[in-house]
């Protein structure tokens, strides 16, 4: 099945990439989010900034991904979704995501991260309830897809 071969490609790509300490990664990201929260008064602005950062990462990351993963072009949006979830996420984040909740026109889907390395030690205080902590990931996906000329919108849900 497409999903299983995507999974295998993801595992291979992950094995090949250089690794960084997960705690350092989580703490760095956390420090950055905390800084943003302190600098911007509105949580929505923080979400927007995180998304913009992600976008800047995504437009560059997609070339690296296509070079390293060595996959053929995707045959359709559904295959694109699987590749993002199982190969790209696995390769750069270390954990594969699940593709769920397709809409009826097959133009929208959800990416579910069972285990989010970005939010390793995080407990959101009540006043930051609307913060999309991992919104940078939404931006990365948007930037990456835009570079391969797929316009998209994402609704981050932290």
């Amino acid at each position: 099945m497409a999903s299983r071969s995507a999974q295998r490609a993801g595992d291979v790509a992950w094995a090949r990439t250089p690794k960084v300490n997960g705690e350092l990664f989580a703490l760095t990201y956390g420090a950055m989010v905390k800084r943003l929260v302190e600098d911007y008064t509105e949580i929505d602005e923080v979400n927007e900034q995180l998304e913009k950062m992600g976008y800047n990462i995504g437009i560059r990351l997609v070339d690296e991904f296509l070079a390293k993963a060595g996959l053929p072009p995707c045959q359709g949006f559904q295959e694109t979704a699987e590749v993002i979830a199982k190969v790209a996420f696995r390769m750069f984040l270390g954990v594969a995501a699940d593709v769920t909740s397709w809409n009826s026109e097959a133009t929208a889907f959800s990416l579910l991260l069972a285990d989010n390395p970005l939010a390793e030690f995080v407990e959101l205080p009540r006043q930051y309830k609307t913060l999309c902590y991992s919104n940078v990931l939404c931006g990365v996906v948007r930037g990456a897809l835009e570079m391969v000329s797929e316009e998209m919108r994402s609704l981050g849900l932290g």
């Binding site: 703490l27 030690f121 930051y128």
Partner: protein, 136 residues
């Protein structure tokens, strides 16, 4: 006799966390006394720190029938336990060590400012569970 145990985490300048382990309602007068005992034992902790090489300071003070055991983290946050009679020291030490693991996780939360009160309900629930397991 009612067991009026109390566990306090003390930071550089103020208590960060308090847990009363007495089942039900101890008289509130004795509640204040417990806090007083723990805070006056803080000086004893500083003295004991100079003598001990390890983190677990055992019993640093006693007041009537109550004993205060202490444990200091490498960052000088003090865990103080007020208890009625000499419990097994290894049990107390194990309790302190497990709480320290929870404490470290709290400090790793980017939204937690160091040396401030710990308000996480998850932390509270887990410390209560540990207290029930080790100290009940």
């Amino acid at each position: 006799r009612r067991r009026a145990d109390m566990f306090v985490i003390v930071g550089r300048s103020e208590p960060l966390y308090e847990l009363e382990l007495s089942g039900g309602s101890g008289a509130s007068a004795s509640g204040n006394l417990d806090q007083f005992i723990i805070h006056s034992a803080l000086d004893m902790v500083d003295t004991a720190l100079l003598q001990h090489t390890s983190l677990f300071l055992r019993t640093v003070d006693s007041f009537g029938e109550k004993f205060v055991s202490a444990y200091v983290t490498p960052s000088h946050v003090k865990f103080m336990l007020l208890h009625e009679r000499n419990k097994n020291e290894d049990t107390i030490k194990a309790f302190f060590q497990e709480v320290q693991e929870l404490f470290v996780k709290i400090t790793l939360n980017p939204f937690y400012t160091y040396d401030t009160a710990i308000t996480s309900k998850g932390f509270d629930d887990r410390v209560r569970a540990l207290a029930n397991r080790y100290l009940a």
